[in-house]
Symmetry: C2
Subunit: 443 residues, 2 copies
């Protein structure tokens, strides 16, 4: 069979599925609208079972930041058929494991089990898609758990506070700028009604994607999914996340966080750029550019700031093109060498980028970066769970299986001109720079 859909919104009838080389990936859709992706890997007798919902913290209603993540916690609180802890105990007894995660654009639940337990996972996950039982008491206790999580991992850590402030500044007014865990004062207001309203709105088969990877037969998986997940009645509710386009930025923005728990000063510079869901070459070019600028000891910024200028002791560049739809962030992080101020380091980074805007990268460097990225991608595909994750993310973002399979070609196709254009997205005046620093000491 050949893959022929533009995206996962296949109009194929039940049971008709499509395989795309080279990842041995089959796709289909259940009668109730739930999408299915199956990745075959017979090397070990295990299976990874994932359900992805196409909603994440970016969909938290205004004033209710953290609700997607909060509901993810609550999803482990049990149903009539599976009281809390029941399924986790079973998984532990057979050597499986499970977890869940919430990101900006998706929420997912997954298990890795001996292959004979795939059906058990499906039954459990289908059950909690509609059967969740929440009491005020459960919700109140779990809210405290999340608040403690926020207190320990966010509010006590100046690095997290710093990143939250930078992202909020960079993405304002888009709700993507809110932290996934939520703002504390909003988490405090989340109640049972909020959780249930969110659950009924988003936890539907039409909004879900089943991803199964491992030692499985795609036909059998599809049949099993239709029997188990296909029995869930669709709600008919369509969902499209509104995108709030930021106004053009003409002011240079600087955030400074001075905190006594910071021991080494650090600089972070963020630019909002097109994501991999955007058309055109920008996203692929930015991935290559991140590697060229800060992807290791041979990178341009490493050479310029650490080896040549001795302004920095570390520098890296990262693109986040695969974390959410439409717009994402491109990030440069650096720590100054002893005696170098953050202002001087900031200028040095801008000077290095300005030089590149004039001279560009050599064709050889670009070729090397592309080869390395593609090699890394191939290596990652060796683990079926990692591959399942990759397809799950892509499907959540609205990308097709083909988009994932062809991403390497998009990387290979990046030109010198594309890199030059990508550099124009990193104009200092449109970015936001943060200084994280210990309090000044009197000399």
């Amino acid at each position: 069979m050949t893959f022929h859909s533009e995206n996962l919104q296949l109009d194929s009838p039940l049971g008709e599925k499509h395989e795309t080389s080279p990842d041995r990936v089959f796709t289909g859709r259940l009668g109730n609208g739930m999408d299915v992706i199956v990745i075959r890997d017979h090397r070990r007798p295990i299976a990874t079972h994932m359900v992805w919902y196409r909603n994440g913290s970016a969909d938290d209603p205004i004033g209710k930041s953290g609700i997607a993540h909060f509901l993810e916690h609550l999803m482990f609180k049990g149903t009539r058929n599976h009281p809390a802890g029941h399924f986790s105990g079973l998984l532990a007894s057979v050597g499986g494991n499970e977890n869940a995660s919430t990101s900006w654009s998706y929420t997912n639940y997954y298990q890795r089990v001996p292959k004979d337990y795939l059906k058990t996972c499906m039954v459990y996950e289908a059950d909690r898609m509609t059967g969740l039982i929440l009491t005020d008491e459960i919700v109140d206790i779990e809210r405290q758990v999340v608040l403690v999580e926020r207190g320990m991992h966010c509010d006590a850590d100046p690095q997290v506070i710093f990143e939250e402030a930078l992202l909020a500044g960079a993405f304002s007014p888009d709700p993507c700028g809110r932290p996934i865990i939520g703002w504390q004062h909003e988490i405090e207001t989340l109640g049972r009604e909020d959780a249930l309203a969110y659950y009924y709105r988003f936890y539907t088969p039409e909004n879900a994607i089943l991803v199964v990877a491992g030692d499985v037969d795609p036909d059998a998986v599809m049949d099993m999914a239709e029997t188990i997940y296909g029995a869930i009645t669709p709600t008919g509710a369509s969902f499209k996340r509104p995108v709030v386009q930021a106004p053009p930025v003409r002011t240079q923005r600087l955030l400074t966080l001075v905190d006594e728990n910071v021991h080494e000063p650090a600089l972070t510079r963020i630019h909002v750029v097109p994501s991999m869901t955007a058309t055109g070459p920008h996203a692929a070019a930015l991935e290559v550019l991140a590697f060229l600028l800060g992807g290791g000891n041979a990178s341009y910024l490493h050479e310029a700031l650490i080896v040549n200028n001795r302004m920095a002791i570390s520098v890296r560049a990262s693109d986040w093109s695969n974390v959410f739809r439409d717009l994402v962030h491109f990030q440069i992080d650096a720590c100054p060498a002893p005696g170098v101020s953050l202002t001087d380091l900031d200028d040095a980074i801008e000077n290095a980028l300005e030089m590149l805007r004039r001279t560009g990268f050599s064709a050889d460097d670009i070729q090397r970066a592309k080869s390395r990225i593609v090699a890394n991608a191939i290596y990652q595909k060796d683990d079926h769970s990692a591959l399942a994750w990759q397809y799950g993310v892509a499907a959540s973002l609205g990308l097709s299986v083909e988009d994932v399979a062809l991403w390497q070609d998009r990387i290979k196709g990046v030109t010198t001109e594309d890199i030059r254009n990508a550099l124009t997205l990193l104009e200092r005046s449109t970015g936001i720079v943060g200084y994280l620093t210990p309090p000044a000491t009197d000399a």
Copy 2:
């Protein structure tokens, strides 16, 4: 009659009205829920007629910034009974005038006419509360008018760009941070459907306040209003603006706008503070503090920065406590003396405030500031249109006539301790500072 209501949500039946001294203000409510405020002033045979709607740009739907202001423009495009220009022509012929304005929390329409034309104004305004006719052609043309207005008065002026960026930063994520005129890319998307949806939602008698001031008889005004405005059917739609509380700010924020059309560098520092709708002494104390800090040549910052340090050539402080509900901004503006950097001026302002946090103001200075503010307020009350405006703003913000009348008492009651507490709202780490500057010239 004595005033006895807590706010304008009077439960008095039609025709029963209440007078509050000292402003000769009468209030009532029509059968359909429309509030009425009448201010008697027999000195000249004229009348000011205003209709205020309790919605402004802060209520623009996400992604539709500018719709309140856009509809204000469209409200002059005519009804079946009053084609565009008809009423304006009549007003001009009798020596009257009219205008309208949109702010964050309200939109208003007003006329100043010979007193015999009050009824004509009511008939016209009541007619366009329900009878507005919009075609795509009218909307398209007016959208261009607004875009030109934005281009000329905002985008071509770095000072406006600068203020827009500061307010957006200060109020994020609250929609109050959007410019009243809207962001250009969102204005461009506003269509007839948007305008009508907004009109039907907000232009209702329950959401409106009639303010009449001048040489009128309150009983006659109330009867006339009941006949003319009272005939409009209420929609029963209640409206409460959601307030998005910002997360705590722990990072110091700096925006820099470098623009070749800037000739003199300038600094603006903004703090988000409680408005006059908040309970407690903060808002009154902030009004006194603004006067103490930057209200003229005897003010503290004038003395510190211009006279003593010679760091600045101008400095002023303003509180915006009466522009919208809940949270507003407190603003310090300064221009550096020749040769002084914005960074040094920034530090000098903070040092001056830090000194005040330790020493406070003298009781004499505080007393003088309060007396001056109260004297100014009494002077302003002499003009019935200004008074009408004051009551219209207050009613739009949800304040009572009593709140307005008692504001002077709140100012008089401000203590040394209140001022000290107000100063804690101006911590540098929670504010946002902007530098507006010409491009650097090579020395």
